[in-house]
């Protein structure tokens, strides 16, 4: 089973035959003991510390279809090294483009993304509502808003509704999360612990979707809900909408309410809040564990991991754009 490797320390990565060699380098420039990673075991790399590497390493990673996701010192996602496309299909590319340029087709897909995301947000709210967290105001308001999704006739209008749904949804976080206040969603920089977690975990979710897309015929730059080019690989943003409530938000609730991540894991400055390395490590570990958890898939009739669910979502999109089967977004049923 391939897995993700998270590099927290700065250091140098190089190719040694068919393995990767990582030599950590500390602030004084002193090298630590090298670590070896067999390349067949690598699904992708996450570089949180400064990563020193040469082109022969990237050529090697490219050949092995391994992507590298970069985060800066403030744990902002800054970009990815993506290997050359290897599963391209002209048929899929043309069909995907047509679904973008044809206004009705694009809107339909965009609506499905929003409706899937909304369904999953409601699932979360109802879950907590049944556990004595009163989210009834948000549930009612979102149900009301979601009925308008199918009445929109432009992406802008749909984005407007989506924005309102999201604001309403986030306003429930202070009810759901114990001991921490989120207030208003703030991104750059995040103003408090909850916002810091949302930003960081949402970037992880985005890279997850990006990797899944890469291993299919879909082209990551042609998106439907988000404007292509909004972020380079905007299709990953579309896909992340569906999975953020289930993967990111549920994890945030667990991490904070179960006190896995605590005040001490954050570095609070005057108007910004970031995870300390200790916090980042805990988050990444829980995220990774969550992705390998499995659920019984009802049409495949076998257990699949959360990670694989994202890949299945890509397959469903491929089928939709090839007119094989209408896309129905993944909606959590538990």
């Amino acid at each position: 089973m391939k897995k993700s490797y998270y590099l927290f320390n700065p250091g140098r990565m190089s190719r040694k035959d068919n393995t990767l060699q990582f030599i950590p380098v500390d602030a004084a420039g002193i090298e630590g003991t090298p670590k070896y990673i067999p390349v067949e075991s690598v699904a992708n790399l996450y570089a949180f510390g400064a990563l020193d590497a040469n082109s022969s390493m990237y050529n090697f990673l490219g050949k092995e279809q391994i992507s590298v996701h970069f985060f800066d010192y403030h744990e902002h996602y800054t970009g990815s090294f993506m290997p050359k496309d290897y599963l391209l299909s002209g048929k899929v590319l043309i069909a995907q483009t047509q679904h973008y340029t044809h206004q009705k087709k694009r809107l339909l897909l965009a609506q499905k993304f929003v409706s899937g995301a909304t369904g999953n947000m409601l699932k979360n709210l109802k879950y907590y509502h049944n556990r004595d967290k009163d989210t009834s105001i948000q549930i009612d308001r979102i149900e009301d808003l979601s009925s308008q999704i199918w009445e929109t006739d432009s992406i802008e209008m749909l984005m407007g509704i989506e924005g309102n749904i999201r604001i309403t949804y986030y306003s429930s976080f202070d009810t759901i999360i114990n001991d921490f206040e989120m207030g208003i969603r703030s991104k750059q920089p995040p103003s408090n612990e909850v916002n810091a977690l949302i930003s960081f975990i949402n970037s992880l979710c985005y890279t997850l979707c990006l990797d899944a897309i890469y291993h299919t015929q879909l082209h990551p730059t042609i998106s439907f809900l988000h404007q292509p080019g909004f972020r380079r690989y905007s299709l990953a943003l579309d896909l992340a909408e569906i999975f953020k409530p289930i993967l990111s938000d549920r994890l945030i609730f667990t991490l904070l309410n179960k006190k896995i991540v605590t005040k001490g894991d954050f570095d609070i400055q005057l108007n910004s809040c970031l995870l300390k390395e200790s916090g980042r490590k805990k988050v990444v570990k829980s995220w990774d564990e969550r992705l390998s958890e499995t659920i019984m898939h009802r049409s495949l009739k076998r257990n699949v991991s959360y990670k694989h669910l994202v890949k299945l979502e890509c397959y469903k999109l491929v089928k939709h754009i090839l007119d094989m089967e209408g896309y129905q977004p993944f909606k959590a049923w538990w």
């Binding site: 299909s89 089967e325 129905q328």
Partner: protein, 181 residues
């Protein structure tokens, strides 16, 4: 359009698989099976390399269709094609693949070629010959494959036992269970 032995093979298993494959919709190699297949090919008959050659054949079938095939082991003295497969689950499709090769030889003016289909794992082997009727059948099949691949519509799902072992299984069966909506 090029139609090759793989497509003929797939067409006999599942038209949808044939269509997906021909349109470049391939699945990521997550399992070791592909690698395994390569090894099988290299390891099963290490001595064969001397006497057997790899041979590529083409034949023009019509204005628009070119037939192609690559035979890994051809024994030119015995006029025999050796084709090895992992499992006999889709034996009928394998037989048609072999017959397609023999037919390609015939279309190139090389007659009396036979094939031996081998399953080293279960130690089975079958001799394959091409009859007059087989040639007619193959030429009809090529027409059918041609029309299948010209179509923009992917054929429906098979819903057969074979789907369970197909590399497209997750693609074909990933739809949401709508009863839950």
């Amino acid at each position: 359009m090029h139609i090759n032995a793989t497509l003929i093979n797939l067409y006999h298993i599942c038209a949808r698989e044939c269509w997906l494959h021909a349109n470049g919709i391939r699945m990521e190699h997550t399992s070791d099976t592909v690698y395994d297949g390569k090894l099988l090919h290299e390891m099963s008959y290490p001595l064969r390399a001397d006497r057997h050659t790899e041979i590529s054949l083409t034949a023009e079938f019509s204005n628009e269709i070119v037939l192609t095939g690559k035979v890994d082991f051809y024994d030119s003295k015995a006029r025999t094609i050796h084709e090895t497969k992992r499992s006999n689950k889709t034996a009928a499709a394998h037989e048609w693949q072999c017959k397609f090769y023999i037919w390609l030889f015939a279309l190139n003016g090389i007659d009396d070629v036979q094939a031996i289909l081998e399953y080293p794992k279960s130690r089975e082997r079958t001799n394959i010959f091409l009859s007059e009727a087989d040639s007619v059948y193959l030429s009809n099949t090529v027409d059918e494959v041609y029309h299948l691949l010209r179509s923009d519509l992917c054929p429906p799902r098979l819903d057969e036992k074979i789907c369970k072992h197909c590399s497209y299984h997750d693609l074909c069966y990933s739809g949401e269970d709508l009863s839950s909506y």
